[in-house]
Symmetry: C2
Subunit: 195 residues, 2 copies
Amino acid sequence: MRLQGRSAEIVELVLENTAEEFGRSGYAGLRVDEIAARSGVNKTTIYRRWPTKDDLVLAALHWISPYKHPPNTGSMREDLLAMLRGMAEAASTPKGLAIYRAIQIERAQPAFEPLLARLKVELLASRQAIFDRAMERGELPSWTDGALVGEVCFAAAFLRIVTVGQKLDESFMQALVDLIIAGAKNVTPRPKDGA
Amino acid sequence: MRLQGRSAEIVELVLENTAEEFGRSGYAGLRVDEIAARSGVNKTTIYRRWPTKDDLVLAALHWISPYKHPPNTGSMREDLLAMLRGMAEAASTPKGLAIYRAIQIERAQPAFEPLLARLKVELLASRQAIFDRAMERGELPSWTDGALVGEVCFAAAFLRIVTVGQKLDESFMQALVDLIIAGAKNVTPRPKDGA
């Protein structure tokens, strides 16, 4: 069957349509049968590969995520810039920006929470890997709180893109990364809670 | 007239009701006649003091703003912590959080833009004053980009409160401020654009 041979293409089409529909209608408004119809496949074809709506939306958001292939350039500064440039690019089209905004708006929806939690684990792991390698290479002190440094760096970028609706320009990304790295290199270690 | 003598109280009541209604219904949904009715005053009483809906909403958001009286403690670290604690407190009630969220959601509304721009000018000036004084006292290099440092610091706090829905705890606020200050003190000056 022709469909069999084109299955990778069909997977991409379904994921693309899902991501786009998520950006337009949000999580609650997204209907698997509509995605199936728009993609020219049966609903069962979708459910065979992604048993639940959660699985489908997660796969779609993962597919379009700039963190899908976390950068590993050998330099913390370049890794962070690559992550930020990925965000900037992902949010540079109206479709991409709609998806970012939908993620933000959907946070309030209890039904979206389990999926958001899975996305977050992936995102945090991508960031943490950058700081772990930086500590191994001696670019950062061994006691660096990578979770905090990553949160602060990406919060500024996220807020600019999604909330303020501003583009991330190269000069902002570099100034942000340089500020964050200077902070991480020079901040005094904090006593552990309860220590 | 009794109303005359109680005018300060009435102003506060109108602003409180406006802020609350803004949190509940957003900018577009807020109706001055409803605020008047709830506050037990005539619509003309409101319009005499605040000629437009923009004026009223701006006054209300200013009235509840933690930046209304920017801190000036003599220490940059304490000033920043005071600003962050003000945000944390303002967002600690459901009503306060609703107002924060409404500001975020309303950003997309063209009608809200002029008002948001006025709020932003005030917020940025409050932050900038902290860094200007820090540079004067020699706590930061004279070429510090206070706008960037402030943006990065408050983005992380804002994102935690509004988007993630997490509380700002004291240990996070201190770690954030220490990271940002270490960055600002140690970052290498960037060449000016076009220089």
